[in-house]
Structures are given as C-alpha cells and as structure tokens.
C-alpha cells in the first residue's frame, strides 16, 4: 500500500496546482491552502524515506503496466531523501516568501502559486522517474514552470526569461537527442533495462555520442561554465518567492539527473570511460568553480552575488561526480543536499535584509547588525557553510570532495576548491564588513518587525546546516553510499 506514495507525491502537487488557479486571490486563504498541501508533501516525503529504509529500493508501475511496456517509477535511498528535501525546501520557501507576495506578485497570486505547485510536482517527477523519456518530459515541465515563475519579476526579468527559454530548450533537446540514440541502439527507454543492455554490449561510438549529447544538455541546465550565462540574470530579476524555490533546487536536480545517467545508465561501463572523460570534465569543473567565484566577487548586488555562487557550486558537484574515487561522488551528492539548504538560506537572508534595511545592494547594508541582529547571524552562519568552517555541513562536503580529489590525483580540482573557499571568504567578509563596521547613516531608523521575523526564520533554517553537518557521516553512510556503485 505504501508504494502508492511514490506516485502520490507527484500527483498531489500537480492536482493542487490545477486547483490553485481556480481559487480567489485572498492571501490568507492561499497561504493556508499552500501550507496544507506542502505539509502533505512533506509527510509523503518522510513516508518515502521510511519506506526505503525499511525495504530498500522500491518500484512502482504506473497503471499496473510492468516495465517493458509501461513507465516505471523507482525510489532509492537517495531519491527518497531528495524528494523529501524538495518538499521541505518548497515548504520553507513558500513560508519565507509569503511577505513578498503583496509587493511583487499582486493580484495574479493564484496563477503564480499554481506554477509553484506544478514546479514542485515536476521536481518530484524528475527525482523519482525511472524512464529516460519520462525524465525529459519532467525536465521540460519543470523548465516551463520556471520560465513562468521568473517572468513574474517583470521589467528586466523578461529578457532574462527569454534567454533562459532559448538555452533551456536547447539543453532539453540535446538530452532528447541522446535518449533517441540510446533508444535506437537498445530499443528501450527504461533506465534499469538500458543499464543491463549497455553493460553487456561493446561501447560503440553511437553510445559515446549519446552520452555526449546527454551530458551537454544537462550541463546547460546545470549552468556550468561556459554554459552559465543565462543563470545570474534570470535568478536575480526573478521575484523573491521564485528564487526561494528555483534557486535551491533547479540546478541540483540537473546534477541528480547527471548522476542517474552516469551511475544508473552507464554505471557498468563507467570505469572504462573514466580515464578520458574524467580528465576533461573535472578540468572544466575546476575552471567553472574559479569563474563562478570570480563573477560573484565582481557583483555589488547581493542577490546577483548569490546567483553567481550557484554557478560555482554547480562546478563542485560536476567535478565531484566525475572523480574516479567513490568519495568524490559521495561528496558531490552530500554537497547537493547541503547546497540546496544553503542556497535557500542565502535567498531567505536576501529577503530579510531587504525588509530590514530597504535594499539589497552592498552599500545598503550599513548598520544591519543593529537593525536586525538575527539576519546578520543567519548571514554569518551561511557564510561559514560556504567557506567550509566546521561544524557546518559545508565543511564535511568539501572535506569529502577534497579527499576524493586527492585520492584520484586531481590536484587542479583541490586547488580550485581551496581558492573558491578563499573567494567565498572575501565575498562574505566584504558583506559582513559593511554590515558590522560601517557607521550607520541614520541611527534613528527603528527595527522593522518584518525584517526581524524574516531574519529569525532564515536563522532557524540555517541551523539545519549545522544539524546536517553534525550528522554528516551517518547521512552519507545511510543515504548516499548505497547508491554509489564504484
């Protein structure tokens, strides 16, 4: 009976999304309705985690059609954790973004939330589907919902959305071509069946070309340098409520898709691919990390700085996945979980800062410590996480990634990680210096209640990073190590 949760966690937000568009635009009603649905998603996510811990990976056949004919959904220990993480981030993002609705969304709120739920459904689908074509459809649903959500920003968001549409569609199409090649060679779209066939046959050029297309498509969605230029503007000009859901999850799910392709489809032949592919891709990731961090250093707008950091973080995970040592892959997946929460906290902090000091430029930050101390503490906490100070989760993910990189002998990746930590240190020191040491222009300005509340919320979510850090090794052993077959 509990297997039904696997489909329910996709169908529930999908139906909620359709119904939301019909509701009247009353903020309290929509807020209660949204929290109710997202709490239900969290309960289902937690149910999935319990299910896989009790009986291991579980499959669900849609409409009772078994795999060679039908579409299969499959939950593994890690995808159960990820589907719960999606529900949790959606819930926290929803609650944290509520206060910005009146300013930024206005009377189109039901439509906005409709897309919001649709995006949650697509993310859950991306996380649970075990069918290569189904994954394409989910990828496109998630992108289409994201385009709409970003375009709600108005003004400069439109051009950013258009660039995102062009790059996102090209990326998904490349993925589709790759799936087509695999279908021609094997005659199946089920990921488990694909893996069996690929492990048994000789790896011809057609397979390698398919892998090329799949990876290029996903790197576009992941916004890894040099395919990153659409991301910073799209995330910066999006409404705050959008960034809270899209920023933490969108690129992370692309990373998970890449992991599925490597481990679940090409897993059997991965060691033979490693010597050449790892060399190129880890090198690319190292450059990407440095470029992303330098871009972030050059910004004066906080939201844009954090959007550029997402580009750098994508490099961490890409490089980690392609290290030949299993610890690299484990570190990359742990970093995925950690970075989803950290990005959520970053964007929550931006909202808190905006309502405390009235702006999100670096120069607006003067006196933040007096006006909203909790916001400032949340900012320092997430800064520690990104720099990699124990006991935050960022330290453990970076330590595991570096151990993997050293064991694989990829020292350029180690250097890139260290320089990125240094870069993050400079970025956050600049911010904290402004917030703490710069004299306040107007000492009369009272503490805004909204800013205090938003700061407290950001700090509460930020404390999850410490909890995740303290339980880092049990999490890796229980949820991540079993899915890494290296």
């Amino acid at each position: 009976m509990t297997e039904q949760l696997i489909i329910l966690i996709i169908v529930w937000p999908l139906l909620a999304g359709v119904l939301t568009a019909l509701l009247p635009c009353r903020e309290n009603l929509l807020s209660a309705w949204g929290i109710f649905n997202l709490l239900a998603c969290n309960a289902m996510g937690l149910g999935l985690v319990r299910l896989v811990l009790a009986q291991g990976s579980t499959s669900y056949h849609i409409s009772g059609w078994a795999p060679p004919l039908g579409i299969e959904l499959k939950v593994t220990v890690f995808s159960a954790l990820l589907s719960w993480l999606i529900s949790a981030v959606a819930l926290f993002g929803f609650v944290g973004g509520r206060r910005t609705w009146a300013d930024q969304i206005g009377e189109r709120l039901p439509q906005f939330l409709s897309l919001f739920f649709l995006l949650v459904a697509a993310f859950e689908g991306l996380c649970l589907s075990n069918d290569a074509f189904n994954l394409y459809v989910m990828l496109e649903i998630s992108s289409l919902a994201t385009y709409g959500l970003i375009a709600f920003g108005g003004g400069r968001a439109y051009l950013a959305t258009f660039h995102y549409i062009v790059m996102g569609t090209i990326g998904a199409s490349f993925y589709l071509i790759g799936v087509g090649y695999l279908y021609i060679k094997t005659g199946t779209l089920n990921i488990t069946a694909l893996a069996h066939m690929i492990a048994e046959t000789e790896l011809t050029q057609a397979y390698l070309l398919a892998l090329c297309f799949l990876i290029t498509g996903i790197l576009l969605k992941m916004a890894v340098f040099p395919l990153h230029f659409w991301l910073p503007n799209a995330y910066t000009y999006a409404p705050a409520a959008t960034s809270l859901l899209v920023g933490p999850l969108s690129t992370k799910l692309a990373v998970f898709l890449l992991f599925r392709i490597m481990m679940d489809i090409f897993g059997g032949v991965l060691p033979s691919l490693h010597p050449t592919w790892s060399f190129v891709i880890v090198g690319l990731a190292s450059v990407g990390i440095l470029v992303g961090t330098s871009l972030a250093l050059a910004q004066y707008d906080l939201k844009k700085t954090f959007a550029c950091l997402i580009v750098a973080e994508a490099g961490y995970m890409l490089g980690g996945l392609w290290l030949t040592d299993p610890r690299g892959t484990v570190g990359a997946l742990f970093h995925l979980v950690n970075d989803a929460i950290a990005t959520l906290v970053l964007f929550l902090v931006v909202i808190a800062i905006q309502s405390s000091v009235g702006g999100k430029k670096l120069s607006d930050l003067k006196g933040l410590f007096q006006k909203s101390p909790l916001t400032a503490v949340a900012l320092i906490l997430v800064a520690f996480n990104l720099i990699g100070v124990p006991p935050t989760a960022g330290f453990f993910s970076k330590a595991t990634l570096m151990t993997g990189a050293i064991a694989s002998g990829r020292f350029e990746f180690v250097i890139a990680l260290l320089l990125a930590s240094l870069g993050n240190l400079v970025i956050f020191f600049r911010i904290i210096e402004q917030a703490y040491f710069q004299p306040q222009d107007n000492s009369e300005a009272g503490r805004s209640k909204d800013g205090q509340r938003a700061g407290a919320f950001a700090l509460a979510i930020g404390s999850l990073l410490v909890m995740l850090g303290l339980s880092a090794y049990p999490v890796m052993e229980t949820f991540i190590r079993p899915v890494v077959h290296l």
């Binding site: 074509f133 394409y136 459809v137 496109e140 649903i141 289409l144 385009y147 709409g148 375009a151 003004g155 400069r156 439109y158 051009l159 959305t161 258009f162 549409i165 062009v166 569609t169 090209i170 199409s173 589709l176 071509i177 087509g180 279908y183 021609i184």
Partner: protein, 128 residues
C-alpha cells in the same frame, strides 16, 4: 554517393538541426531566434519519427483488438514501430508550450521596450 542515399534522412536531420541551432544562437531578432528554436525542435521530432520506419511495413493497427479473442500471431516486422510516434506527440505538446511561453515573453518585451531586436533592448536597458 550511396552513403548519402542510405543515410539521407539522418543527414537531413543534422542539416535541419544545425540551421535551427544557428538561428537560435546567432539571430538578433527575438522572433527569428524563436523560429530557429522551433526548427531545432522539429528536426528532433523528424529524427524520432524516422526511426520507427521499416521497409514494407504497414501502419501499426491490429484488426482484432485485445479483449476480443486470442490475438492472431503478430509479426513485429510487418508493422512500423509506433512508440517513437507516441513519444513525439508528447514532445510536440512540450514544443507548443515552449513557443507559447516564449511568444508571451516577447510580447511583454515589445510592450516594455517597443522593439524585438535584442541589441536595441540591451541598449535601452543600459541607458536606463
């Protein structure tokens, strides 16, 4: 010569794909970019549809449906593969949705800046 003859459909696919990609990346006019993107997607649909094709095969409709009697012996080689066509129905829907969203965004851009030329829009953004 025979290489072209045997792989004509694939070559056609690649040429169409490259035309679309060029349009989507190199054109300055946003509507033209969108045309390029549509050509790009259509090329992929064509590619998928072509891989279901078999020489001398019929359309995949059985005279006796399931649920009636025992199925007669079905030889797969006598029917073209319907699966890629079905997949492409979904992909066409996705494509239509993408074009719809993109056109709506272009319309908003035109209302905002009074032009659909990317360089002119960027110029106006920089000036403001």
């Amino acid at each position: 010569m025979s290489v072209i003859e045997h792989n004509f459909i694939y070559l056609f696919f690649v040429v169409l794909l490259m035309i679309g990609l060029y349009g989507a990346i190199a054109k300055v006019n946003l509507v033209k970019k969108l045309f390029g993107l549509t050509i790009f997607q259509t090329a992929i649909i064509l590619f998928y549809v072509s891989i279901g094709q078999k020489k001398g095969a019929a359309i995949p409709i059985l005279e006796v449906g399931h649920g009636h009697q025992a199925l007669p012996d079905v030889v797969a080689a006598h029917y073209i593969n319907p699966l890629p066509h079905v997949l492409m129905l979904t992909a066409i829907v996705v494509g239509v949705a993408t074009v719809g969203v993109a056109l709506a965004v272009i319309q908003r851009l035109y209302a905002e800046y009074g032009t659909v030329e990317e360089d002119e829009i960027l110029e106006k953004i920089v000036r403001s």
